[in-house]
């Protein structure tokens, strides 16, 4: 019953094979980074890729918190969630104003820092 569940959980925790859980967040991170490079359409895709990157990093924190048996990883993951939400809100607000000013959100008109 409860002791069996605890036994299962303790055996899973002490025989934690980290290699099984590395690859997925890495692939998510790669998708997010490539999404920024290969983006030719608009800025919303860049923001979405940014969210995917943050999600991947979040997952890494949680995985390592289970592996190292330290709770600080999960607390920090909550921080990341909060900050990611706030930053997405600000980014979308800037995007709306950019659309108001420029009339378009295509990437190719955003080379102000060229020179």
């Amino acid at each position: 019953m409860i002791i069996n569940d605890y036994n299962n959980i303790i055996s899973w925790l002490s025989n934690f094979n980290l290699n099984l859980y590395i690859l997925l967040p890495l692939q998510l991170f790669g998708i997010g980074v490539w999404g920024i490079f290969l983006n030719r359409r608009n800025i919303i895709l860049m923001l979405m890729s940014l969210e995917i990157i943050l999600l991947a990093v979040n997952l890494y924190f949680i995985i390592y918190s289970v592996y190292l048996d330290d709770l600080i990883g999960q607390i920090f993951s909550l921080f990341i969630l909060t900050v990611a939400a706030a930053e997405s809100a600000i980014g979308l607000a800037i995007l709306v104003i950019l659309y108001n000013v420029r009339g378009t959100i295509a990437i190719e008109y955003l080379n102000y820092i060229k020179g």
């Binding site: 920024i36 490079f37 860049m46 955003l110 080379n111 102000y112 060229k114």
Partner: protein
């Protein structure tokens, strides 16, 4: 006194050149003439001291080059050969200055003319008084430049431009030979002073040196290169093409440069280097052959020329051939004697030709003259006596030097000497022929000029007559007066300045050649004169048929085109060299390759590189992000491999990178 002989013409040149506005035309011409006249008086004093009293003078002025291996001073040497040349140069220069005061009177640029004339005299004096080869080369180049400036005096005339450029370029080829000779002399003797070279020349006899892996006799190769310099300057066969075209300059220029002074600079060089030449017999043979061929070639070409000054120019070329082959047969003193005599009667001929041209309002074509003997009798007498002296009529000046050259050539028992003798005799015939042809066409017979011109024809004014009279006395008497001093048997006039090896002296043998051989040159001259007069007057029908016949036309073509030398040089040498000089060495090498690896190329490369790097900063966020990621990857790699940058580096990657850069940069060059 000795220094002022050399410096006075320079001072006169500078004052009359730069002070032309201050002094005006008359003032600057006067200053230049006075300075050269003073130099002439002082050179008479020098002649008395050095030549007659036998005390040469050596002046060491100041240091020019003072490095450890090469020490050259500005120093002047006044030995016998120098003072003889000084007399010749200063007398002719003074007379030409006086003559041009009247001849160029109405030219607005007369101050420049006198400045150039004095500058030329100055450089010629530097040439003859120098004590080392480098100072001689300074004078050599200086007379070349002065002759360019003087031939190109009327520089708005296109023919004068072309002729002056031709003169300077052909001269330059000869100068290159002289430069090579100076290099080899320095390499062997380790010094350029004449005293060092001439004293040690005999120790290098039969001494071989290696140039470009070829073993050559040292003194022979030096003398051949010296002779190439003389060929360029003295218009011997091969580099003679500039002399007839140099008649584009005013007549006083022709008298000064192309009769008496510049063209004798080459002969002077040969005679000055006689201590070296004596030990190089093969070079002497080459000098003889080329001198003899020049004499013959110029004489045959002068027969069919139609321009008054050109006939006299070819006559100069022919007499220079005489001088050169006399040197080649080791008779240096006779060559100097002929040089002096030739200066007198050739300057007389040129100046009187100038008088004729002046009288006929600048008409130079002989076929348009005629019948002037009663109108300008003074000039007629001058030209007649000058021509008789040139032809070698007995007991005038030319006879003493010209005949002894031919006698000495005959008595030298070698093939090249006999070759030179017969060519010399033939050219004496042709010389007489064209001299009298000139006199006949200009003075005798019926007039071919316009009525206006011949109505206004006047004889030479007083300032033009005085030089002619002085030269007349020179042409008649100098030969007899100076003969025993210059070429007499056992004379010690020359002292140390000329060396002749004992087995090359044939003066005694020349007294015992058969009597008819001694008569042949005079006979040929008189025959030539007779032929010229008869063909033009009595047998003129026969002569006309001859000139219309096909043989005559072909002969005229060959001779009038100067044996096709000019055409050959222009088509087969000049055209290809000009093509090379512009397309290859200018466009591809100078503007192409050397600019590419020089400052221009580096600037262009930096601009291209900065453009390439500039393209990295696109302004788009995603590019910058990618560079971040690349950096992160490199860092991670190094973190796990202990910052090891020495990866397996194959050298072929360099070539691939170069090819990539080249392929990427093509579209920038081909703009």
């Amino acid at each position: 006194m000795y220094l002022s002989i050399v410096l006075l013409p320079a001072i006169g040149s500078i004052i009359s050149g730069f002070g032309a506005k201050l002094l005006g035309n008359k003032g600057s011409s006067f200053i230049a003439t006075i300075s050269v006249f003073l130099s002439c008086i002082l050179s008479f004093c020098a002649f008395y001291e050095v030549g007659i009293s036998g005390s040469p003078c050596y002046l060491n002025l100041f240091t020019w080059i003072d490095s450890g291996i090469l020490n050259i001073n500005w120093s002047l040497m006044f030995d016998t050969l120098t003072v003889v040349m000084l007399i010749v140069v200063t007398i002719v220069s003074t007379l030409v200055h006086i003559y041009s005061m009247e001849y160029m009177k109405q030219d607005p640029h007369i101050a420049r003319f006198f400045s150039y004339l004095s500058m030329f005299t100055f450089f010629m004096l530097i040439l003859v008084t120098s004590n080392n080869l480098l100072q001689l080369f300074v004078g050599w180049e200086g007379v070349g430049i002065s002759s360019y400036l003087l031939i190109n005096f009327w520089y708005t005339r296109i023919q004068a431009n072309k002729s002056a450029m031709k003169a300077i370029i052909v001269n330059r080829i000869g100068d290159f030979g002289l430069t090579l000779a100076i290099f080899i002399i320095y390499y062997i003797f380790k010094s350029l002073d004449f005293s060092v070279i001439f004293a040690s020349a005999s120790y290098f006899y039969n001494n071989n040196i290696t140039i470009f892996n070829i073993n050559v006799d040292a003194l022979t190769i030096i003398c051949i290169f010296l002779f190439i310099g003389a060929v360029g300057k003295s218009a011997q066969l091969g580099l003679h093409t500039w002399l007839p075209d140099a008649m584009e300059g005013p007549t006083p220029v022709s008298a000064l440069i192309h009769a008496a002074t510049m063209v004798t600079a080459g002969v002077f060089l040969i005679i000055r280097c006689s201590p070296i030449l004596e030990f190089a017999p093969s070079a002497l043979i080459i000098i003889t052959i080329i001198g003899a061929m020049t004499a013959f070639f110029a004489a045959t070409t002068g027969v069919v020329q139609n321009d008054l000054k050109r006939v006299i120019a070819y006559s100069t070329c022919s007499q220079l051939g005489y001088m050169v082959f006399a040197c080649g047969l080791s008779n240096y003193s006779v060559s100097v004697f002929h040089l002096m005599n030739h200066a007198f009667f050739k300057a007389l001929l040129f100046l009187s030709a100038g008088s004729v041209i002046h009288a006929l309002a600048d008409e130079q074509d002989m076929r348009k003259m005629g019948g002037l003997v009663k109108i300008i009798p003074f000039t007629y007498i001058m030209i007649l006596i000058g021509s008789l002296s040139l032809m070698g009529i007995p007991f005038l000046t030319g006879f003493y030097s010209k005949d002894i050259i031919l006698e000495l050539a005959y008595s030298n028992y070698s093939i090249h000497a006999i070759f030179a003798y017969w060519l010399g005799v033939l050219s004496a015939f042709f010389t007489a022929f064209y001299s009298f042809r000139l006199i006949y066409l200009t003075f005798y017979g019926e007039t071919n000029t316009y009525k206006i011109i011949i109505q206004k024809a006047h004889d030479a004014p007083i300032l033009m007559s005085i030089p002619l009279i002085i030269l007349l006395f020179g042409s008649i008497f100098v030969g007899y007066i100076a003969k025993d001093m210059f070429i007499g048997l056992g004379t010690d006039f020359w002292g140390n300045s000329i060396l002749t090896l004992p087995n090359n002296i044939v003066v005694l043998e020349s007294e015992f050649i058969p009597y008819y051989i001694k008569l042949i040159p005079v006979l040929f001259s008189i025959c030539g004169a007779l032929f010229a007069i008869l063909f033009n007057s009595i047998f003129s029908n026969f002569f006309n048929y001859f000139t219309i016949s096909s043989f005559g036309i072909n002969l005229y073509k060959i001779l009038n085109k100067k044996w096709f030398f000019d055409m050959f040089y222009n088509q087969y040498v000049v055209k290809y060299l000009l093509y090379f000089g512009y397309n290859i060495s200018f466009k591809i090498l100078d503007r192409g390759f050397i600019e590419l690896i020089g400052p221009t190329g580096i600037v262009r490369l930096i601009k291209q590189m900065s453009n390439t790097i500039h393209n990295l900063q696109t302004g788009y966020i995603y590019s910058y992000t990618m560079i971040f990621m690349v950096g992160v990857v490199v860092l991670l790699n190094n973190y796990y491999n202990n910052f090891n940058y020495n990866y397996n580096f194959d050298i072929r990657i360099i070539f691939i990178i170069i090819i990539i850069i080249y392929l990427n940069s093509i579209n920038y060059i081909k703009k």
